[in-house]
């Protein structure tokens, strides 16, 4: 009897506090469920609130049940998979940009070398090797020989690694190629602006790796022989 009285001792405020949790596992409302129901039997106002809350619960549950199997249309999975594949391809190819840039530089260098060769090929008017500084694309030398490739009449700077170079010190081998480069071509290789702004061409040695990618450059100045 006293137990029943104790159960009925729940106040309306306490009932309102837990009424929305009576069926929610793990909550205080569920723990006090029996007391709350007992209170509702003796309180018309709380009984009405309980009924309304139960109706609301049931309506919400009905909505959750009827709409619980809704999902995005099937095309979305295909579209996202395509995006996933695309993202995967770009993610595993971070060197693509580097290779494109290196190829661009290689193309510029080879173009410059080709033009030089064409202009100063044997038999071409005005081509006197040794007299004209522009007419010089040397026979390739190995990277190991590069230190000796500058003749005694020349002074050369140290090799400077080119942007995106994989092997700027030529440790994997490579070839040194003498070229004449214009100022803008030097600028594209990252050389100082003062040189890049030169109106004439400048002699340089390019260290080209085995795959044809230029790795490093050094400037060569030729001293006039007396």
């Amino acid at each position: 009897m006293s137990e029943i009285e104790e159960m009925k001792s729940m106040s309306c405020a306490e009932f309102e506090e837990i009424v929305h949790d009576l069926d929610r596992p793990g909550t205080r409302g569920m723990a006090l469920r029996e007391r709350a129901l007992a209170h509702a039997e003796s309180c018309a106002r709380c009984a009405q609130l309980l009924t309304e809350t139960e109706s609301l619960d049931q309506a919400l549950h009905a909505i959750a049940t009827t709409e619980g199997d809704q999902e995005a249309p099937a095309w979305m999975e295909s579209a996202l998979l395509r995006e996933f594949r695309y993202a995967k391809v770009t993610a595993v190819s971070p060197n693509i940009g580097r290779h494109v840039a290196a190829l661009g530089i290689a193309a510029a260098v080879l173009l410059a070398a080709g033009i030089s060769l064409h202009r100063f090929a044997p038999g071409t008017k005005g081509n006197v090797p040794g007299q004209n500084m522009q007419a010089n694309v040397s026979a390739p030398a190995t990277a190991g020989e590069s230190a000796q490739s500058a003749s005694s009449a020349e002074s050369a700077s140290d090799f400077i690694a080119l942007p995106y170079a994989d092997d700027p010190d030529g440790s994997d081998g490579g070839t040194v190629v003498r070229v004449e480069l214009s100022g803008p071509a030097l600028a594209s290789l990252g050389m100082p602006v003062s040189l890049a702004g030169s109106s004439g061409s400048i002699s340089a040695d390019l260290l080209v790796s085995d795959d044809g990618t230029p790795q490093a450059i050094r400037l060569v100045s030729q001293e006039t022989a007396n």
Binding site: E67, Q70, A72
Partner: protein, 226 residues
């Protein structure tokens, strides 16, 4: 290829993986892991967006954006800060808010609310009686024996009432009542304390009751519990 034979058991295992495990595989480029993760997680995200916006097109957009974000930048998810589900819901909430700013008409009106029901494969409103989820004729739901139309209308009214709740109350009702999450799960999704979830849900349900009382003459019949 020997690897192919070895892949099958791994794929089977993938279905047993946790979200974090699947995400790890997905980051490594495992397409099936992404597919499994998407199939596991997208329905609740879609329904959340659908209930929050009341618009199937917006729900599709939001769902797609959530998983696009996961594809593009999966490392944004930090397991130390919560579950992957919470992370995805967080992205969905952010996208919904952006859409909110773009279109103030996101709050579902009657027509929008009906749209949700129209997308239900089972139609709307019949779930309550089908699942025995009818009240005893004393609350907002009428008994199944009285009038199916009235039951459907009641559920429609509840759905509309949910759709017109303020955003922070609506999302808590959607998560806790329609997605049937625990307070702890909802707290993880909303990045707030469990106590906040509880108090906010109680307030939201109190508002719903007020709305429903306004919409229907209260039936003041004493509760008879069995």
């Amino acid at each position: 290829m020997p690897g192919q034979a070895a892949e099958r058991p791994e794929m089977t295992k993938a279905t047993e993986l946790t979200d974090d495990g699947l995400l790890g595989r997905m980051i490594a480029g495992d397409e099936e892991a992404f597919t499994l993760l998407y199939r596991r997680r997208h329905p609740s995200i879609y329904r959340f967006a659908l209930h929050m916006s009341g618009n199937a097109t917006i729900a599709e957009d939001v769902t797609q954006e959530v998983f696009m974000t996961l594809i593009r930048d999966p490392r944004r998810f930090d397991p130390a800060r919560g579950t992957l589900g919470g992370f995805l819901f967080g992205i969905a909430r952010n996208f919904l808010r952006k859409r909110w700013e773009q279109d103030r008409r996101l709050v579902a009106l009657d027509g929008d609310a009906n749209e949700i029901g129209e997308h239900s494969p089972n139609g709307s409103g019949s779930g309550a009686s089908r699942n025995g989820l009818h009240a005893n004729g004393k609350g907002f739901l009428v008994s199944a024996s009285s009038d199916e139309f009235a039951t459907r209308e009641t559920i429609s009214r509840v759905r509309s009432a949910v759709a017109t709740l303020p955003e922070n109350y609506r999302e808590i009702v959607v998560l806790c009542d329609l997605e049937e999450m625990s307070y702890e799960e909802a707290a993880s999704v909303l990045s707030c304390p469990v106590g906040t979830v509880r108090s906010r849900l109680h307030r939201a349900r109190a508002i719903l009751l007020e709305k429903l009382r306004d919409a229907q003459t209260a039936r003041r019949v004493p509760v008879v519990r069995t």
